[in-house]
């Protein structure tokens, strides 16, 4: 008992440990009820299997979670990432055009412009929050509401199919046996890590999230730091948008990226970054995203009826949050202690 308690307390101080623990538990569950889960087959030199699927399907969420982490760490939140995903897909698709096997705009340019639009969306959010001083939830809600409308306008209210093959590489291509989208995640992670930890940007973000008044006294330019955080979050949403539209080979203003903002916020929270801002961890958020994705995959592969999916998801998220909560751990701790006392 005592040992269990001390393990809980020790693990407790490290929120990342809890999310890894949760991820491992979910995977273990799969191993037991569905041994096929871990099977990886090689076909045409490509890896296939549920595990690979988790990474591949989770790629957009992981990228999104990285961007969201920055915004959350400043003490804000970005609700508009789902619609920005839709906008990006729509922009890229309309630039590429509907002809079979050819594109109206060079691929590189089309992607760059689409990402530019996404970054612009983030910039807009950043302006509203940092210069005009609108509460982040309200400020990003504006684009949340408007974004899908814009995407639909670009696609004329229809689902636009893409027939230009090179574009599919982002979402469904393979390189050295692994999905290309995984490399994208890795690249985004490395660049984000370098940009926050090898410049002072990360320190500023955390500092503002913890105590913005004291940060002001140290000369940190809160406005610019926030503006940049929201812009980068928009950019990440754009990258996710490209991966998604490339994967489904179409742009759907209505459904692309639906509910992704919630999953992204959950990933960040599960990864141990406090939603009130401050210390952040990209690695944690990526693990958070993997938890959510493997949960989805698990639920599908065990054949749980779709109505229950949301409930199961909610339950797991609830459990992980409980484990991360200091108050809850204290409660458990004192419960174990008093039991121990009763036994003696």
């Amino acid at each position: 008992m005592k040992k269990l308690n001390s393990i809980i307390q020790k693990l407790g101080s490290n929120r990342l440990a809890w999310s890894m623990f949760a991820l491992a538990a979910i995977l273990l569950f799969n191993l037991i009820v569905y041994p096929e889960f871990f099977k990886i087959t090689i076909l045409d030199g490509h890896l296939y299997g549920s595990l690979v699927d988790i990474f591949r399907n989770g790629a957009p969420l992981m990228v999104l979670a990285i961007g969201m982490t920055l915004v959350v760490a400043t003490g804000g939140v970005d609700l508009s990432v789902g619609p920005v995903i839709a906008v990006t897909g729509a922009v890229a698709t309309s630039l590429i055009g509907l002809e079979y096997g050819s594109t109206n705009t060079p691929l590189f340019l089309a992607v760059a412009l689409a990402l530019g639009v996404a970054a612009l969306c983030g910039f807009w959010n950043g302006i509203l929050v940092s210069r005009i001083g609108i509460q982040p939830i309200v400020a990003t809600l504006i684009l949340y509401v408007a974004g899908r409308g814009v995407a639909q306008m670009i696609t004329n209210g229809k689902i636009m199919r893409i027939f230009y093959e090179p574009y599919f590489v982002f979402g469904s291509g393979y390189f050295l046996s692994l999905p290309v989208s995984l490399y994208i995640v890795l690249l985004v992670y490395i660049v984000a890590w370098l940009f926050t930890r090898r410049t002072s940007f990360g320190l500023y973000v955390e500092s503002i999230g913890i105590n913005s008044e004291a940060s002001r006294f140290t000369g940190i330019n809160e406005k610019n730091v926030k503006l940049l955080a929201y812009t980068l979050c928009g950019l990440c949403a754009g990258i996710a948008g490209i991966i998604i539209s490339s994967n489904v080979k179409s742009a759907d203003g209505n459904n692309a990226g639906l509910w992704y903002e919630l999953d992204a916020i959950l990933s960040v929270a599960l990864g141990g970054t406090s939603l009130s801002g401050g210390r952040f961890s990209f690695a944690g958020s990526i693990i958070g995203a993997l938890i959510i994705q493997s949960l989805t995959t698990t639920i599908y592969s065990t054949g749980v009826p779709p109505q229950v999916i949301m409930l199961v998801k909610a339950l797991v998220v609830f459990l992980v949050s409980l484990l991360q909560s200091e108050n809850f751990r204290k409660m458990i701790g004192s419960l174990l202690n008093s039991r121990k006392g009763a036994i003696q």
């Binding site: 410049t199 002072s200 500023y204 500092s207 004291a214 006294f217 140290t218 000369g219 940190i220 330019n221």
Partner: protein, 510 residues
């Protein structure tokens, strides 16, 4: 009225934090109707002892009895119900509630299920009046200065009918002499009513003025409990810091040398700088190699003046000239780039970044000055942090400790280190020694003067007049949000300064 009835008894208390033994086997007792001072260096364990009594921290070992009964308070609220009322070192009020709400919250007068706000206001007014504080209790707390907030916290602690024990953790660190007097009057009155008071402070004079007994802690261990009137001051200091205190003669000599210098080179010129409702326009010259003291009562506008100069608040009149350029106003970043720093008064809200480490808190202002892309290499960061942990005697298990886990005085030292680490040419120090123990205080004063010797311009603000007068070559005196006088040379002495502060008109002087 001290009787020997023991009110509160703590025996064999031990408390560990990761890497720190904050209290080891400490015994402590408080009698009814006594004022018991708790003393010791920064990080000695004073606040931890208080947190153990009030249920904030759970001791690993030990027992607490109140009037003979063992108690296990689980929270300050619990302790309050038992009759233990506390003012914590870091004022923990709600800045965005009104003063009246802050005082009455938790013990509202409830009528028909609603909080009776007019009762609350009247009660708050009356409690503050005891302390001679006359303010609008309907305004939000954040509108008021640190010292007023401290008074509100005290008033709140007095708002309990059946208090047996009153605990005051460094209540005087941000008060001026007059406010301290008022607080002491109230403490003496409570003492007469048989209340036991635990009083923590770093001011030796204050202890000798009101305390009946003194308990000294050092590095978490009990050194002893003494009757105040049988304990010589030197012995008290010795038991606190384990060595003799250096005398301050060298300080006045250092200052003398500084004053003798004839050529002054201006660093900044302030012309008619002011802000409506906060401070009347004032002129000021800030010179290199000089310590300029700001004197005045709390709330006289000293911090406001500093904020206007540094640019955290924006003035609505006047100009600042620095590095041959004239500005309507600065901003913290512009100030830093111009070589100006401000070490703020309110360490909790304007100073510490609680979840960052000691190292990060120290290097952050330096980093801001260097810009986004010249990230200070880790090795350098540790070097800088270690240097100041050494020189300011910061009590921390490592530079990677979160600053929020440090004792109050040690947090203050870190904030000071943050600004000493920057390469500013002009440093404004707003209450830099607040809550700092006597040993380090003298070190800091010396440091201030030697910074000026190196050619830096220093503005020194402190509600401890002795300290300002001891360190300054020149002083600006403020009263009622206005600059009323500027003193130089021999005129910078305690008597002169006190008279002006108290309100001797310029006419009389002539």
């Amino acid at each position: 009225m001290v009787n020997d009835r023991v009110l509160l008894q703590m025996s064999n208390i031990s408390k560990m934090f990761p890497g720190v033994k904050a209290l080891s086997n400490v015994d402590f007792d408080l009698r009814a109707g006594e004022i018991h001072a708790l003393m010791g260096e920064n990080g000695a364990g004073k606040s931890t002892l208080i947190k153990v009594i009030t249920g904030v921290d759970k001791p690993e070992l030990g027992e607490i009895t109140l009037e003979g009964n063992i108690i296990h308070p689980a929270s300050p609220r619990d302790a309050q119900k038992l009759g233990i009322s506390t003012v914590f070192q870091e004022v923990n009020l709600c800045p965005n509630l009104s003063v009246a709400e802050n005082i009455s919250i938790g013990h509202e007068t409830i009528r028909y299920g609603f909080i009776n706000s007019s009762d609350a206001k009247a009660k708050a007014k009356q409690l503050l009046k005891q302390l001679d504080v006359d303010i609008d209790v309907t305004r939000t707390l954040a509108d008021y200065s640190v010292s007023i907030q401290q008074m509100v916290a005290i008033a709140r602690a007095l708002n309990i009918d059946k208090t047996k024990v009153l605990i005051l953790d460094e209540p005087t660190s941000s008060l001026d002499a007059y406010e301290v007097r008022k607080l002491f009057d109230v403490m003496l009155k409570l003492k007469k009513n048989g209340i036991g008071i635990i009083f923590i402070t770093h001011f030796i004079d204050q202890v000798y003025e009101v305390a009946d007994r003194i308990t000294v802690l050092r590095q978490g261990k009990l050194i002893g409990t003494y009757e105040t009137n049988t304990l010589p001051r030197l012995k008290l200091v010795y038991s606190m810091i384990g060595k003799e205190l250096e005398n301050l003669d060298s300080l006045s000599k250092m200052k003398g040398e500084l004053t003798k210098r004839t050529e002054v080179e201006p660093f900044m010129q302030v012309k008619a700088l002011g802000s409506k409702g906060s401070i009347q326009p004032f002129d000021l010259e800030i010179n290199k190699g000089e310590v300029l003291g700001f004197g005045g009562l709390l709330g006289s506008g000293r911090s406001e003046a500093a904020h206007l100069i540094f640019g955290v608040d924006i003035p609505d009149s006047g100009t600042l000239t620095v590095n041959k350029k004239e500005y309507r106003h600065l901003s913290p970043l512009k100030s830093i780039l111009n070589g100006i720093g401000l070490c703020p008064e309110d360490r909790k809200t304007e100073g510490i970044i609680s979840d960052l480490t000691v190292r990060e808190n120290i290097v952050i202002a330096l980093q801001v000055g260097q810009g986004w892309f010249q990230y200070i290499p880790m090795k350098k960061q540790y070097e800088i942090a270690d240097k100041f942990i050494q020189s300011l005697n910061i009590n921390t298990p490592s530079p990677d400790q979160l600053i929020k886990n440090l004792s109050g005085g040690n947090q203050q030292k870190v904030i000071l280190a943050r600004w000493l680490a920057t390469h500013v040419k002009f440093l404004i120090l707003d209450e830099p020694t607040r809550g700092i123990d006597i040993g380090t205080k003298a070190e800091i004063q010396k440091m201030v003067i030697s910074l000026a010797e190196e050619g830096k311009a220093i503005v020194f603000i402190s509600s401890e007049l002795d300290e300002v007068v001891r360190c300054s070559n020149r002083m600006m005196i403020m009263r009622d949000h206005q600059k009323v006088a500027e003193l130089e040379g021999d005129k910078v002495n305690l008597e002169e300064v006190m008279q002006i502060i108290a309100g001797r008109s310029e006419l009389e002087k002539a």
